[in-house]
């Protein structure tokens, strides 16, 4: 059935209101403090181990990836803080409106349900982008001050792709949180379900992928068998947004990385090991992962929309 009227009507109004809510809310203050402490810790760890004036042409990128026990690297911090921030921004998006009894009043205004959902999603994404960009700039700025080495154009390009991928990674978790906010009427349940999903992908998905690969793949008696099993395990693990994101990080922030899969010695014949790939090659290497993250966002949004559309408005 064809429907009339723009699906965009009201989207920007909702987005502006929700973004304002996010940015002024107490929840945001907590997350900002958390993110700030994490990045300050990470940058301290990185600066105390990175030696400036060394041979590494990509010393600026090592700011993001260097860890010093017990403090994880900036990337390590982002790996678990990004989903947390995204979940915090999305878990009560729809059920919160139900519980405040505002949903039927808002939907009685001239706006489509997908407009409301999209407005809320974009507001979350804008907020996430603001937070991530601020922290990224903070780390880059501190690095610039203490290292005293300006980043090269290529380093900037790599760092920007890294930032974009991190926002996309957050976008996936925002989508998951919003799906749960449609499914569960209680925000607490939705938050718990989102965090459970995150734990599942962080801790257990690797184990599940390896078990499934062992069960499905032919017995690894031959080299082909071993390769097939490893390939399947890797592909399975890529269902997790965490894997996709960390592969992007590896590909972008370690220019010497040439492959994200298994590499046979024969493939390395006459390769100059340790020499960095050009930016375009690294980008080509992680392009499927970036596409995967964007596809995940679209799929999750569609799922949330379909579920929301089928839901009754009455409380």
């Amino acid at each position: 059935m064809h429907r009339e009227g723009s699906p965009w009507q009201g989207v920007w109004t909702v987005m502006a209101k929700e973004t304002a809510d996010h940015l002024t809310g107490a929840r945001m203050t907590i997350l900002e403090v958390l993110m700030f402490l994490a990045s300050a810790g990470a940058i301290y760890a990185a600066l105390s181990s990175v030696k400036s004036g060394g041979q590494d042409p990509f010393v600026f990128l090592t700011l993001f990836t260097t860890a010093k026990a017990p403090i994880p690297s900036f990337v390590g911090f982002l790996g678990f803080l990004t989903p947390l921030v995204a979940i915090a921004l999305g878990f009560d998006a729809v059920n919160g409106e139900f519980n405040r009894r505002t949903l039927s009043r808002i939907l009685a205004q001239p706006i489509y349900r997908d407009g409301l959902l999209l407005g809320k999603y974009l507001a979350g994404l804008v907020t996430l982008s603001i937070v991530m960009t601020a922290i990224w700039l903070l780390v880059a700025g501190l690095g610039l001050m203490f290292l005293g080495v300006p980043p090269s154009g290529e380093e900037v390009a790599r760092a920007v792709v890294f930032l974009a991928a991190t926002i996309g990674y957050g976008g996936v978790w925002l989508g998951i949180a919003m799906v749960f906010s449609v499914v569960f009427r209680q925000p607490a349940t939705a938050a718990l379900a989102s965090i459970a999903t995150w734990l599942f992908f962080t801790l257990f998905w690797g184990i599940v992928a390896s078990l499934v690969a062992q069960a499905l793949s032919p017995s690894p008696g031959s080299l082909q068998g071993v390769l097939a099993q490893a390939g399947m395990e890797q592909n399975l693990s890529r269902i997790s947004p965490n894997t996709l994101w960390s592969e992007v990080v590896v590909g972008m922030l370690h220019p010497a990385v040439r492959s994200l899969g298994l590499v046979l010695p024969v493939q390395l014949y006459r390769a100059v090991l340790g020499s960095p790939l050009p930016f375009s090659e690294s980008l080509a290497l992680i392009w499927p992962q970036l596409t995967g993250l964007v596809a995940g966002v679209i799929l999750l949004f569609t799922l949330a929309y379909v579920l929301f559309q089928r839901q009754e408005v009455r409380a």
């Binding site: 429907r3 009339e4 009227g5 505002t102 009043r105 205004q109 001239p110 408005v313």
Partner: protein, 312 residues
Amino acid sequence: MDPVIETHKLTKRYGPKTAVDGLDLTLEKGEVFGLLGPNGSGKTTTILMILGLTEPTSGKVRVLGVDPARRPLQVKTRVGYLPDQVGFYDDMTARENLSYTARLNRIPSAEAADRIISAMHRIGLSDEVVDQQVGTFSHGMRQRLGLAELLVKEPEVVILDEPTLGLDPEAAHQFLRLIRGLKDDGITILLASHLLHQVQAVCDRVGLFRNGKMFLEGPVRDLAHEILGGGFVIHLESDDLQLAPQLEGLEHAVRVTSEHAGHYRMEARADLRQQVARLVLDRGSKLLSMHLDEPSLDEVYASYFEEVPDAS
């Protein structure tokens, strides 16, 4: 002229349960229509279908000549809706809440600001309250704020779902007066409620609704005649215990019942107080008290559903 709201054989099923069953409803411009029925009779479902928030299983709805399922934005621009137990964003002020709705309705912000002020005055919320967070508001104030939202929107049709639920009698009365004021602006009003005695005073026409079906429709007084067989109920107290057959013999009398000895309840098609008094006195009995009830919907309702066995 085309009716403002028109439904034809409107039906909504949830699985095996039929919430609304072949409803035919017509609202003319400028009238106040009361959709009355017990809780769970399908009133809210009907409203949601009229607004295009729920798709009908079958049947037809037209609001201002537009199909709300296909062109919901047009319908929702021109129709205002006050849900039961309306909610607002608690951490925003009354003004912020109303201007958010105004923006969703694409009302220019300067005009919206004016409309918000005049709407708040009209519903009797003072200027200090406008900039208070809605979280501090009482239920009655929220309900009035919901009405202010409708005034800001300036719709052609207003749909109110249980507007007086949870209000004390005085507040409910005031609220209904405000609703009646909307009619003077030429707005067509659909009012759904189960609180018959409160609502009947403001309605031009009512429809009695039960199990998804509309059993009766018409002005309150006509319904009283149709159902009670007469619009007049006389309560009588006398020391004469054999009065019932005599009273039934009177012209225009319909039915006489006696709950305790000496207490009679008489239904009639005319005001028979004069004749009743004469009859009692002529028999040499004492007339201890006599009282005429205005026909009330509560009675219509009670009496009607006494006669119609519960379908479920």
